[in-house]
Symmetry: C2
Subunit: 311 residues, 2 copies
């Protein structure tokens, strides 16, 4: 197999498929470009939730129950931070804190987020190339009826409850794609849109000037997996937000976001009836089980979307 | 009792007497000015070992076994930092890390170290005024046969083993005394030199321009407690360093450091024979039990040096 894959990923859903891809591809054949629009500063520390979710997942350290954070992590430092009257709604575990401490230190020393991510991954034994979408600051800001909220405040502090009226990617207009994203794209024969929220996870990546155009010109195989099954997001607020923004909460609305960027679009069996509409968008609809629970599911889906398994 | 006390303190030895003073004085009558020459940056975080030892001691959180750090603290974040290939010879516990994270955040936000310390103490219920000696950076650098070492490297990483040839206080010449030190001094009727290392703990405080002169002019009661008993430091490398620097490892050599600054000098029973030599330095020698093991010892010594108990 000579496939070189560039996967575009957000958080937990993306990390699942990334793990499947990692299990079947040689490490050097997989580059994962990760959303950093959710990055946030907590207690003066630079936290990159999506990068960490992908990194911890590939390192075998991820918490299987939450999908984020580290398995078995403790919250002792956080309980002390609470005594200092700081807001601790973002639950940073002790081992997780070490990641943010080290990242922040390296960034302050002048390293780029790409360099930091490469170093952290190296130390945790992650052989695949995990890269931020950009080394520049891009912040996903969710406009709600209660005012604008940075992504983590919306998602974690407010439990995705306020009604969403808009989404913008602050800083995106002047951001550069990270070198690793461009390198991964140049090397890739396959481009994978992971089943991540098209607005909150992959939207920021696509908002970086030049990325959309490069994906449009990409000559290889381009495949997406829907994060929506039967009108419900597999995880997170994607369906709710899509409905609030006036989109249909269905795989069709996701597919529409990728018109011109993607050629093959995977939907679940229970959405098989949407296949003709997806075909009308100019994409080849593919139908199969796309819900990933076990690691076997993740590997099977990865094999399937790369065409390594007969349907 | 109308006594207002300013105590000059370093780390563990100083904190013991400070606890005794805190138990017998109204909180508003006690100001503790603390050495920050040991402050160090670990993993990008500003660590103030002596300030924290005093703060944790007064908050009832100190580790009674080590004298530093927090009782029952864990080292989970540190074990993860080790995976990131950073040097972890300075053992930062999880709860302790929270202090350094919060301090660093506030300093980066523009607060002075005095403001940060006041806030941390407030949050931990410390009612006494704990102030750094200065808001400016002063770094105690130990010149050894193996080269110059910052204090914590010398003390913790190298276990005080290299032979000391010199000590200097980097930055002291341009540092200002912290406002709280000056305020404490203006209010104080009693000045206490805690039993801390005269070169490594109280030396940096005395090296700040104006401090020595103000202490010389101080009109109240000035009392010191020797950190040396029978030629041995009660704790730490004081005796070893004094010998290496060419001083006698005895209370006499300590007393010499405080000539003109201090009028009453407490030594232990077993050093009673040194009393005449101390008197010759122009100080009133006082002899009694100065070794503090239990909290009762600390309170008794505090009462004794303030003249609240008949000998």
């Amino acid at each position: 197999m000579e496939d070189n894959v560039l996967a575009l990923a957000g958080g937990v859903g993306g990390a699942k498929l990334v793990l499947g891809l990692a299990r079947i591809l040689p490490p050097e054949a997989l580059v994962i470009a990760v959303n950093t629009g959710d990055d946030e500063c907590f207690h003066g520390l630079h936290v990159s939730p999506d990068l960490d979710t992908v990194m911890y997942t590939l390192a075998g350290l991820a918490n299987p129950e939450t999908g984020w954070g580290l398995s078995g992590d403790t919250f002792i430092a956080l309980s002390m931070l609470e005594r200092y009257n700081v807001s601790t709604w973002f639950r940073l575990g002790d081992r997780d804190l070490a990641t943010h401490i080290r990242r922040t230190q390296m960034l302050r020393q002048g390293c780029t987020l790409s360099q930091v991510t490469a170093e952290l991954c190296h130390c945790l034994g992650v052989a695949q190339m995990v890269v931020p979408m950009s080394d520049d600051s891009v912040r996903t800001v969710v406009g709600t009826e209660a005012g604008e909220l940075p992504m983590q405040q919306y998602f974690v502090q407010h439990h995705s409850e306020p009604k969403v009226v808009s989404i913008r990617y602050e800083g995106a207009a002047t951001a550069q794609p990270a070198p690793g994203l461009l390198e991964g794209l140049a090397r890739a024969s396959t481009l994978v849109f992971c089943p991540s929220n098209p607005f909150l996870s992959l939207g920021p990546i696509l908002a970086i000037p030049g990325v959309r155009e490069r994906l449009q010109r990409f000559q290889g195989f381009r495949v997406a997996v829907s994060p929506i099954v039967g009108g419900m997001a597999l995880r997170g607020p994607a369906a709710k937000i899509m409905a609030e923004l006036g989109y249909e909460a269905s795989s069709i609305a996701v597919a529409r976001q990728y018109v011109g960027l993607c050629d093959t679009f995977w939907i679940d069996h229970q959405d098989a009836h949407l296949a003709p509409a997806i075909a009308q968008l100019g994409m080849k609809p593919m139908v199969g089980p796309i819900v990933m629970t076990s690691e076997a599911d993740k590997v099977a889906l990865a094999r399937r979307i790369l065409g390594l398994e007969d349907e």
